[in-house]
């Protein structure tokens, strides 16, 4: 470019920044520090037109370097953070928060708590209102640390309780923490967002003090309020809560429905299928079959014996009853082109047999039904099983032989 040789402040700093970025990517902390030393004078220029100004860049890069550099220590780090807090009032609370995170990572819980309290008491004209969200976060994290203290007290109490002691002071302290934590946690989860850790802690508190209604409401809001981002964990928490409360299968099933839609490979799909299979309602049983088939589409489930046993059980049941073979046909239709290579290859047959006989048993059953007794997988496993004189494999062989023509009807 014609301006290549025309070096000015801005270009020089841009070049400096790219050297810093290269050094960071290669974890060359000394070199990054070297160039950052030259970059910091950008603070003396006002870049308010830029999207990210020098002060933010210096904050982020400096944090990275000080966190990783071998010669740096927490004292240096804290000193730097304090300076960064004074740099930009618009960013004050965010810097405080990130500082707190670093302290927590370093195990300095008390310092983190102090910083949070300090930040909470910060007021700066109209900025206070503008940074309202950050303030709520700060309060929420303080609430979290209060919960942590509450939890410690609770454990002390429980231990002492076993010995027959009851320490009133500890108990009062515990209740104090509860109040402080609950107030803040409740506030943050009102705002749409992903607040897994806050929700869990809050629900834990509510359950301990017996406020199950509130807990249920909180979890329902978290899972079903459309303003909140789709979050599989919300449904998991709700399900676990309902299970703890001993709710009916019906409500348990309804809690897992959306989870199946969002994360078909979730580990709770086994529970889901188990409940659905046993249902009296035809629709539910149908759904159950879909659930288990879908779960096994995922590579992480390939060697999950439990999942295969669920599928095997349901398939077997359908075959024996001779009703609803079309269900299997529907499910198999989109899978018949790739499941054989994916699950039922000869190589897998050998490996499964070697590593996990139960797994191979369940899979062989499914393979035998879906692909017939002459398929590679079933042939190998059943042969091996009979050779080893294992009774169930002989039973399996008989069963599949008896129902051999099913696969023709399924594959259409």
């Amino acid at each position: 470019s014609s301006n290549e040789h025309k070096l000015n402040f801005k270009k020089s700093k841009e070049a400096c920044l790219s050297y810093i970025q290269d050094a960071l990517l290669q974890k060359q902390w000394k070199r990054a520090a070297e160039f950052l030393t030259c970059y910091v004078e950008s603070l003396e220029k006002d870049y308010s037109r830029e999207h990210i100004g020098p002060s933010e860049i210096i904050w982020r890069i400096g944090t990275e370097i000080l966190w990783h550099h071998s010669q740096s220590n927490m004292k240096e780090f804290n000193c730097f953070m304090e300076q960064m807090k004074t740099l930009g009032v618009k960013r004050y609370l965010r810097v405080c928060l990130e500082h707190v995170f670093h302290l927590l990572c370093n195990g300095q819980i008390d310092e983190a708590y102090q910083n949070l309290s300090l930040a909470e008491s910060w007021r700066f004209g109209e900025q206070t209102a503008i940074q309202d969200k950050e303030m709520k976060l700060i309060q929420a994290y303080r609430g979290l640390l209060d919960y942590y203290s509450w939890s410690k007290q609770k454990n002390i109490l429980l231990e002492n309780g076993e010995d027959g002691f009851s320490d009133l002071a500890v108990e009062q302290e515990m209740h104090g923490y509860f109040r402080k934590a609950a107030v803040n946690l409740k506030e943050i989860i009102k705002i749409p967002g992903v607040w897994d850790v806050f929700v869990k802690c809050y629900v834990d508190l509510l359950e301990f003090y017996g406020d199950h209604n509130e807990a249920r409401q909180v979890l329902n809001e978290y899972a079903y309020n459309s303003k909140f981002p789709a979050n599989p964990n919300a449904h998991v928490y709700l399900y676990q809560f309902l299970k703890r409360q001993g709710e009916s299968k019906k409500s348990l099933i309804s809690a897992l429905k959306i989870l199946h839609d969002i994360v078909p490979s979730h580990e709770l799909m086994i529970d889901f299928n188990t409940m659905l299979q046993k249902s009296k309602k035809r629709k539910k049983r149908r759904l159950g079959l879909e659930v288990i088939f879908t779960a096994l589409d995922y590579a992480g489930w390939k060697e999950n014996a439990k999942a295969w046993s669920c599928l095997a059980r349901q398939v077997k049941q359908i075959v024996i009853s001779e009703k609803h073979l079309d269900w299997i046909k529907q499910e198999w239709n989109s899978r018949k082109d790739w499941w054989p290579a994916f699950h039922f290859s000869r190589y897998l047959a050998k490996r499964n047999w070697q590593e996990n006989k139960s797994l191979s048993y369940e899979k062989a059953l499914v393979a035998g039904i879906l692909l017939g007794k002459d398929c590679k997988y079933f042939k190998y496993v059943s042969h091996q099983g009979c050779k080893a004189q294992l009774k169930r494999f002989r039973m399996l062989k008989k069963f599949v032989n008896r129902h051999n023509l099913v696969y023709l009807r399924i594959s259409g």
């Binding site: 902390w29 910091v40 037109r49 370097i65």
Partner: protein
């Protein structure tokens, strides 16, 4: 002339006579009580003493500052620069006789001093930095923002929001901020009328003086010394005396945020020379450093090329007449002659010679190199023949290393200095706080930089690349022979290469598009790019400028052949 005391106000030794017989300091117009004791008639008749209006008595202001004019500031800058040049070995005459006179002439021609100050233009702008209310409520006084937008100085000063935000609260009638008396006037001046002084122009002044003295330093070298910090430029205002307060618009004038480009300084210098009505400069003869023969020798050495090539550069120079005194010597105001860039010209001559001998079409030079290599392998007696390939590898390696170093240096460049600047007193505390934070951060991260300390700036050297014949690895090509590429014809040594390709068939009109040819638009052989890149690095200028000179030389060299009707094929037989 006899009065050598330093001025009480500005420490300058620059005295003139008032008509009352007293001494006045030309730099700051401070009038002393001393009168001349001895009448020196020579002094009176030689000096061009002008009367000065007695109106502007210096007044000390509250903040300890004094009234000062922009041109006084520039005078200080020039003084510092020329002192630095003296330290580098330039003849001391330059300061006292040449540059001084150039400057005075400029002041006079631009009506900033040594003349009746045009009354209408009295500077109304107050030099107050505090936000006092204006003395005269002149509705036509331009607002600060307007003044900012008029100035064409580059850099972010114009868009400095901290300035703009402080100004937006200022109403139209508030005084204009500047530490100097005429800061605002300076920015407002219509630059077409008079050559308004700028920081880059101080370099033009210096170079003009250097050229007049025919000092052995080229413009590219001079600018390199500036960038390397041997000549004060970047933060030179920090050497202003305490009493000269800089703020407001002064910053726009004296704070630079970019390095001036060769073209800019060069063109300004010529403008200046014409403006000052200077006569023809001292002759540039064959024994001058700036003569192409001398410069070619220097650049050949630096480019690690065989000394034998010098014969060829001299031949080319002679043939096209660029070694003639009249061609080389600057005559200001003469618009018909092309302005000579001595360094670029010499570099271009070398490029042309390389093209003559090696063709540089990405084939022939490698072919020749192979022959030379063969010969060198089999025949170790007598000196080695020059191998283009080896030379390319050695030079490219060094060039890459140096370029990388240069790029890193540029990225690590520190622009600020200890003396803080602020547009207005209101901003002072914020600026100082920031400065303190910057210093703290520099300390903190400087410690983490490991053992890398910012070294003292190395002594300025004329040669950026150096090659020693004592190196046994054969990486120095000065003594290598060109026998491999030459042949004897009728008692004359000519190149074996019979062909030549022109960079461009037709030269552009420089006045229209700024260039003689367009380097970027055409695909040239890689070897050509390499050679241009080498000199581009050494001279710190864009390769396109060297390319322009190459085109110019080629067209002079092949003038006759070009006037014959040429086919589209631009390859010529020599």
């Amino acid at each position: 002339r006899d009065f050598n005391e330093r001025c009480a106000q500005c420490s300058e030794v620059n005295w003139g006579l008032t008509d009352g017989g007293g001494f006045y300091c030309r730099s700051c117009h401070n009038v002393t009580e001393r009168t001349r004791e001895v009448v020196n008639t020579d002094f009176i008749t030689n000096s061009r003493v002008q009367t000065i209006s007695k109106g502007s008595k210096k007044q000390e202001k509250n903040d300890g500052g004094c009234e000062w004019y922009i041109c006084e500031g520039f005078q200080l800058v020039l003084k510092k620069q020329v002192e630095a040049l003296e330290a580098l070995g330039v003849c001391p005459q330059m300061k006292d006789e040449i540059l001084c006179n150039f400057w005075r002439c400029y002041l006079q021609k631009s009506k900033q001093a040594y003349c009746k100050r045009p009354a209408a233009e009295t500077v109304k702008a107050l030099s107050v930095c505090e936000s006092s209310t204006d003395v005269d409520s002149d509705p036509e006084r331009p607002s600060l923002l307007h003044l900012l937008s008029l100035s064409e100085s580059e850099g972010d000063l114009q868009t400095d929001c901290s300035f703009a935000s402080s100004v937006s609260k200022v109403s139209e009638s508030t005084s204009v901020y500047s530490g100097s008396v005429d800061g605002s006037l300076y920015i407002m001046k219509n630059q077409k009328e008079k050559l308004r002084m700028t920081m880059p122009m101080t370099l033009s002044f210096c170079y003009m003086a250097l050229l007049w003295m025919r000092e052995p330093i080229t413009l590219s070298e001079f600018l390199r010394f500036v960038v390397e910090g041997h000549i004060p430029y970047l933060n030179v205002f920090q050497h202003f005396p305490e009493k000269m307060k800089l703020c407001g618009l002064d910053l726009k004038i004296f704070c630079v945020e970019s390095w001036p480009v060769y073209e800019e300084v060069f063109n300004k210098m010529h403008e200046l020379a014409a403006f000052l009505d200077l006569p023809r400069f001292p002759d540039i003869t064959e024994s001058c450093f700036l003569h192409p023969d001398m410069l070619c020798m220097k650049y050949l050495m630096e480019a690690n090329l065989p000394d034998e090539l010098h014969n060829w550069t001299c031949r080319v120079v002679k043939k096209i007449g660029i070694g003639e005194v009249d061609f080389l010597t600057l005559t200001p105001g003469n618009k018909s002659t092309r302005k000579v860039k001595y360094d670029v010209l010499a570099a271009a001559v070398i490029v042309v010679v390389l093209k003559l001998l090696f063709l540089l079409d990405d084939h022939y030079e490698w072919l020749l190199s192979e022959f030379a290599e063969e010969r060198n392998k089999n025949n170790t007696e007598g000196g080695p023949y020059f191998e283009f390939k080896k030379w390319y590898e050695v030079v490219k390696h060094s060039l890459d290393v140096e370029q990388k170093k240069l790029d890193e240096e540029r990225a690590k460049y520190l622009w600020r200095c200890e003396k803080p600047l602020f547009y207005s007193v209101k901003k002072k505390s914020k600026v100082l706080k920031r400065r303190q934070m910057v210093v703290n951060l520099q300390n903190q991260f400087g410690k983490l930089s490991g053992s890398v300390q910012r070294a003292e700036k190395p002594n300025p050297s004329s040669f950026q690349l150096s090659w020693s014949e004592e190196n046994t690895d054969g990486s120095c090509f000065h003594g290598h022979s060109l026998k491999g590429v030459l042949q004897e014809k009728r008692g004359l040594l000519t190149a074996m290469n019979p062909d030549y390709w022109l960079c461009t068939v037709k030269l552009c009109n420089e006045k229209l598009c700024g260039h003689l040819a367009h380097y970027k638009d055409v695909e040239f052989p890689q070897s050509y790019h390499f050679v241009l890149g080498l000199f581009s690095f050494l001279l710190r200028i864009q390769p396109s400028y060297i390319h322009d000179e190459v085109c110019m030389i080629e067209h002079k060299l092949f003038n006759k052949k070009l006037h014959k009707k040429l086919k589209y094929n631009t390859v010529l037989r020599k």
